[in-house]
Amino acid sequence: MEIILQTKKLNKQYGSIKAVNDLDFTIRKGEIFGILGPNGSGKTTTLGMALGVTLPQSGSFEWFEGKYGKNSRTKVGAILESPIFYPYMSALDNLKIVAKIKKQNYSDIDRVLKHVELYDRRKSPFKTFSLGMKQRLAIAAALIGNPEALILDEPTNGLDPQGIADIRELVLRTAAEGVTIILASHLLDEVQKVCSHVMILNKGNRLAIGKVDEILQEKNILEIKSENMTDLKNTISTFDDIRSIKEEDEKLLIELSPELSADIINKRLMKKGISLSHLFMKEKSLEKFFLEILKKENV
């Protein structure tokens, strides 16, 4: 699969704060790649380095496997932290400047304005826009010149529920057109709803990276053991609320659906005449523990 962005040991230090620490990751074409982490975990700094506004202390990164050379940045649309435009200029004039920077024709402007549903407001000064409209205009600007990748940093921050829904819908619609999306967010729920892949950051360190289904799924894993493992296995497989069964080190690892508990399983097995010699609810992994924190923060 074609690589969109790859970093190698990126580092950024602010005074005594290690904002980004030896960060490696690879983003491939077609992914909606979420960078998930609490405030201050280094998401913006990471994107800032990849986009050239923040200079890394060490490490490197490469866009599109280097195939566009120095022009690679004009193939990336980006919004960092908040929409930035000249407040005194109309949406249209602002986009003209963006088009000039990206060496694109003005004719592309109408297309992106329509894409974000701001065409009718194109002549209004930027400063008269609501936050949601500003955010959409920023996405329009980022889409000028048909970029291969779109970077969004906390794009729903401060928006009302309607604004949030609009932006998420817009992101999915844009991704459906084949644009690779890189989305930084501190909202677990947002990443789960929108992204296909995720990297979890905490204090500049990568905690996990992979497919959203695999990394963010809530798993209840129970470790069990009995004298007669074959019997145990056969019995367990008759319970249809068990999601998966795996044998490991002479133990069974079974994944429970959320409403089940170790206690219920034990009672059921006793009824069937199976007594357990070992019963252990697997500890939450570091990532899961961290996700719990994230979830609590956002309630």
């Binding site: 800032g48 986009l51 050239g52 506004v53 923040t54 200079l55 120095k70 940045r73 004009t74 990336v76 980006a78 919004i79 960092l80 930035i84 435009f85 000249y86 407040p87 005194y88 200029m89 004039d93 003209k96 400047i97 963006v98 000039k100 920077i101 990206k102 060496k103 600007a141």
Partner: protein
């Protein structure tokens, strides 16, 4: 380059305050240049009433001397141009658009060069206004017009352009380092009218002439009018290479600092 020029033009021309500043600048400039001769002659003849000798009235407008006289006067208004430049440069920091344009794909070098082009445009704009005013006044007040009177001393026009461009380089440097327009304008004035004169006063001999504001001001020196000749005072009536060199050195230094800033800054 043309692309960067277009970008800077859109930003500047859509900013209303720039039109007002430009208009006021033009109005003040035109009234000073059109009114100055009558004003000086009035002052001189009032003062001359009590003198035994009669003082000839001055003519500032006759070519080729008009090039020197009027560019000298016009250069006093360069602070207006610095204000325009400072506002447009600090805007980029206040609005954070300097960061966004890099996000949009402009390189750090292009960011820098586009602002150098802006200084060039402001200097050219002012030079063009002076050129037109000098030509109008000159044609109206010169007895014998020939190609010669237009060309002789027209080097002052180039010198004027250079003086403005150099002065703007200092304004650009200050604006880039402090980011706030009011503060930057204040610093520029403070340096020019207080700090540099004090340093200059403390320095031995005429080393003060090497300081930037003095060097820039020395390019076009006080014209040598008939009035001054009566008192036997002689002034530099040409553009001295030395002054150009000192000023060039400062200008290059100022731009170099800004260049490094644009390369190294975390936006």
């Amino acid at each position: 380059m043309f692309r960067l020029l277009q970008i800077e033009l859109i930003k500047a021309l859509k900013f209303k305050a720039i039109w007002w500043l430009g208009l006021v600048y033009f109005a003040v400039m035109a009234s000073i240049l059109f009114g100055v001769e009558a004003f000086i002659n009035k002052v001189v003849s009032d003062a001359g009433n009590n003198l035994p000798i009669s003082i000839p009235s001055v003519s500032l407008y006759s070519l080729p001397d008009a090039w020197h006289n009027l560019t000298y006067l016009a250069s006093f208004l360069k602070i207006f141009l610095a204000v325009i430049s400072i506002i447009l440069v600090t805007n980029e920091f206040n609005y954070k658009t300097v960061k966004q344009q890099i996000l949009n794909g402009l390189s750090r070098q292009e960011s820098f060069w586009s602002k150098v082009l802006l200084q060039l445009m402001i200097a050219l704009f002012s030079t063009a206004i002076i050129a037109v005013l000098v030509l109008i006044l000159g044609v109206l007040h010169t007895e014998e017009l020939s190609l010669g009177v237009f060309l002789t001393k027209s080097s002052f026009l180039f010198a004027y352009f250079f003086e403005i461009f150099s002065y703007l380089s200092l304004a650009f440097l200050i604006a880039t380092l402090v980011h706030r327009s009011g503060f930057a304008i204040g610093l520029l004035l403070l340096y020019g009218f207080v700090v540099e004169p004090i340093i200059s006063y403390k320095l031995p001999l005429d080393y003060g002439d090497y300081l930037p504001i003095s060097a820039i001001g020395n390019i076009i020196q006080l014209p040598n009018s008939q009035l001054m000749k009566i008192f036997g005072i002689e002034f530099q009536e040409y553009i001295a290479l030395n002054d150009l060199l000192i000023t060039s050195a400062w200008t290059i230094l100022f731009y170099a600092i800004v260049y490094v800033y644009y390369q190294k800054k975390d936006f």
